[in-house]
């Protein structure tokens, strides 16, 4: 995995392929690598859909190995949604296959000279790029159904749907799962639009004839992996709650805490929560012959995904995740799982971010286009996006655009990216991360890992008022580092509580690369990633005023706790003081 694959889609004689040594990017993977390439090679002031922007696709440092949970794929570029640097990651099969093919990353650059649509096929024998305009405006499901007949069942597919082709700023990039469903998305920040701007519909990865990546010290690696997997299996979250109920197990809890935004962030508790909870979802899936416990890629230990069948027992979509259930459910006043799962399928098919769409449809409801709770109306609005009608294009460009188009003030975005499923008025600390992460409002930006295990920035007294700032800082540092390993972020729960599991992760990296990393090195990596991302955004024109929540969060209390977001601006400005 020491090769960088550059594809210039704007080359004079059609797309050109250049393989080069990883060079200055050696030792980087995942988010560290995508952000390093974007920060170094993309002019911060360029247009995100212009020839100067680059789409960087990178497996993690441990992808393609036998390490459990190592199948996360990072995708980076300048975001057309936020205007800043973006890394968005996805599960599915692609990271493992790309790593086994020997590529540290793929860089799509330039601008195509015409409207042709390209497929890129990567095998051990090389890279083939072909025009296939028959794929234009195909949804991801139809696209994969067509391609699997040609390229087989064992390939992994990275694709865009109609939203990406239309360059809508909420467009996602899909990765296929083990069943070749296009259900794993690098959803946030509109990176599908960047792929669309490069004229690339799909990248097909086939690692037939490739071997699993070999560690420098196989014995130590094997031993560390054993501890690692045992740690994941024994933890009550990664070994119990997530496999049994999926990520949507959070619905009841966050609703109970009053931090579950309802009807476009107008309340914090949803009367229909128990109807759409992970517990109800799992029971329904089981009753219909689906699978509530299922991995999104081979080598997944946690198995937090699932197969959701419709009332006739036919596959409809993967088990919608917590964020999707919230966004299309409570935030739109919808308490019906079949409707939410249909919206999830449409998101995946059109190739668009579920969080952004749920928040946007909530805004459309607030504006009176349709009523809160209108199930058919929500489905129809999303279908408009897929068709590319004028209304659909507005919706497909996300919450900020739709709020402006329809004169809604209550628009929950930071850096123009919609907030995820935790109301920062009830949970002030998460608001600190939403406000300050370089990615735009992102719940995963400060997700991971026990800061007091890492001792990032010293021991934090969680009872001190300033703990929220320090914790957010440290969590963002740790998360940036984890995102660079290619590990699924859900490992955080086991790592958070079990120091030996965190050590096993370090041991895996050391055994694989023959290194002697410590927690301090992990901290330094996280800081380095964040620093380069912050510098990019600053050069792109971002100021401290962009590190703020919308004012309604500090003004309008939310039920049931009647709290507002109370962290002061000057405190927010301290998050990146290190």
């Amino acid at each position: 995995m020491d090769t960088l694959l550059r594809i210039d889609v704007g080359a004079a004689k059609g797309p050109s392929v250049n393989k080069e040594p990883i060079g200055a990017y050696a030792g980087m993977g995942g988010r560290a690598l995508t952000s390093a390439v974007v920060a170094k090679e993309v002019p911060p002031l360029c247009h995100a859909l212009g020839p100067e922007n680059k789409l960087v696709i990178a497996p993690g440092l441990l992808s393609g190995t036998a390490a459990g949970q190592s199948g996360r794929l990072s995708i980076g570029a300048k975001s057309p949604l936020t205007g800043g640097i973006k890394e968005s990651n996805a599960g599915g099969q692609a990271a493992q296959v790309l790593a086994r093919l020997g590529y540290a990353c793929i860089v799509l650059e330039g601008k195509p000279r015409n409207d042709d649509l390209y497929t890129i096929v990567i095998t051990k024998d090389g890279v083939k790029i072909e025009v296939d305009n028959s794929l234009k405006m195909l949804g991801n499901y139809d696209l994969i159904d067509k391609l699997r007949k040609v390229y087989g069942e064992k390939a992994a597919y990275i694709s865009i749907g109609p939203a990406g082709e239309m360059k809508l700023t909420a467009a996602s990039i899909a990765c296929t799962d083990m069943e070749l469903h296009p259900t794993r998305h690098a959803g946030r920040g509109g990176l599908g639009a960047v792929m669309g701007s490069k004229g690339v519909k799909v990248i097909i990865l086939d690692d037939e004839g490739c071997k699993m990546r070999e560690p420098k010290d196989p014995e130590k690696f094997k031993a560390a992996n054993k501890v690692w997997i045992e740690g994941l299996k024994k933890h009550p979250v990664t070994g119990g709650g997530l496999p049994s109920f999926g990520t949507n197990v959070l619905t009841n809890i966050i609703n109970e805490a009053g931090g579950f935004p309802v009807n476009n962030f107008s309340s914090g508790q949803f009367a229909g929560a128990s109807k759409i909870s992970g517990e109800s979802q799992a029971a329904l899936m089981t009753a219909r012959g689906g699978q509530p416990t299922h991995g999104c890629h081979r080598g997944c230990v946690i198995q937090c995904s699932g197969i959701y069948n419709d009332a006739q027992g036919k596959y409809l979509s993967k088990q919608a995740e917590y964020e999707t259930v919230w966004a299309h459910g409570a935030n739109c006043g919808i308490d019906d799982l079949d409707t939410i799962q249909m919206l999830d399928r449409l998101d995946d098919d059109i190739g668009i971010d579920t969080i952004e769409m749920g928040v946007t449809i909530g805004i459309a409801m607030d504006a009176g286009l349709i009523k809160f709770g209108d199930k058919e109306g929500a489905i129809n609005l999303l279908k408009e996006v897929g068709k590319g009608t004028p209304l659909g294009r507005i919706i497909g460009c996300g919450a900020g655009m739709t709020g402006k188009a329809f004169g809604v003030e209550r628009v929950a975005v930071v850096k123009n990216q919609a907030l995820p499923a935790y109301d920062p008025r009830a949970i002030n600390g998460i608001g600190v991360t939403y406000a300050t992460t370089p990615m735009g409002a992102d719940h995963t930006a400060g997700y991971a890992i026990a800061t007091n295990i890492l001792k990032v920035g010293g021991f934090v007294d969680p009872l001190k008022p300033e703990g929220q700032i320090e914790l957010s800082r440290n969590l963002q540092i740790a998360t940036a580092a984890i995102d660079s390993t290619g590990m699924c972020l859900f490992i955080a729960f086991a790592v958070l509580d079990q120091p030996e599991t965190f050590q096993a992760l370090i041991d895996l990296l050391n055994a694989f690369y023959g290194l002697s990393l410590t927690g301090d090195d992990v901290t330094a990596l996280g800081k380095s990633v964040l620093t380069s991302e912050r510098n990019f955004n600053k050069a792109a024109g971002f100021t401290k005023e962009d590190d703020r929540l919308p004012m309604f969060f500090t003004r309008d209390p939310i039920a049931p706790h009647n709290q507002v977001f109370a962290v002061k601006d000057e405190e927010l400005d301290k998050v990146f003081n290190w």
Partner: protein
């Protein structure tokens, strides 16, 4: 007095028993009653720990090891010995949850500062407030707590709205088990395997 005993039965006025075979899909709806919330008529003024142990019959080991997340009236609780269950309280019980915010909500979480504005603070000085008579407490069981303890609680009986009991009766094919009456009224409902 433990759940399923006289006070809850008396508070309802009416009772119903539904039998479900072990694999019956209606168990999903039955357990759903527990996540939506049910009432318990019980001694109040107990600490949250005592309520779980004495009323719900959770073992100490289970409380300590499995019930990692506790809410009273939507406020996350850190100290279950100091938190007091009073008449009209809503007590919600959960296992450890994923995500940063899941971790934030746990008892004595190192991330509790993230939710300090909504954390539970006891109005009383702890469990010494025990023994203040009977009252109605609303209880919710989530995720693995619901899965682990739900059938036992259902077999002992819970108080639910008549409409909920009738809905379960219809789902189980035993609609006649719940006589029609006041939709808003309470029914003492037992769900038994067999």
């Amino acid at each position: 007095m433990v759940i399923g005993g006289g006070p809850s039965r008396c508070a309802a006025g009416r009772s119903a028993t539904i039998r479900l075979p072990p694999g019956d899909p209606a168990w999903g709806e039955a357990l759903g009653l527990l996540q939506a919330g049910f009432l318990v008529s019980a001694r109040i003024g107990l600490s949250a720990r005592s309520f779980m142990r004495d009323i719900l019959r959770f073992e100490d080991e289970y409380i300590e090891g499995a019930v990692s997340t506790v809410f009273i009236d939507s406020k996350p609780v850190d100290d279950i010995d100091a938190a007091v269950v009073v008449d009209g309280s809503l007590l919600a019980l959960s296992a450890a949850m994923p995500g940063l915010v899941g971790a934030v909500m746990r008892r004595k979480s190192p991330y509790s500062s993230f939710r300090k504005a909504i954390s539970y603070s006891s109005p009383l000085a702890g469990p010494k407030a025990e023994g203040r008579g009977e009252g109605l407490v609303r209880v919710k069981l989530f995720n693995s707590v619901m899965r682990d303890r739900g059938r036992d609680l259902l077999s002992r009986g819970i108080l639910v709205a008549e409409a909920q009991a009738r809905s379960l009766g219809a789902a189980s094919g035993a609609s006649s088990a719940v006589a029609s009456g006041d939709e808003e009224g309470l029914v003492f409902l037992q769900v038994l395997e067999g």
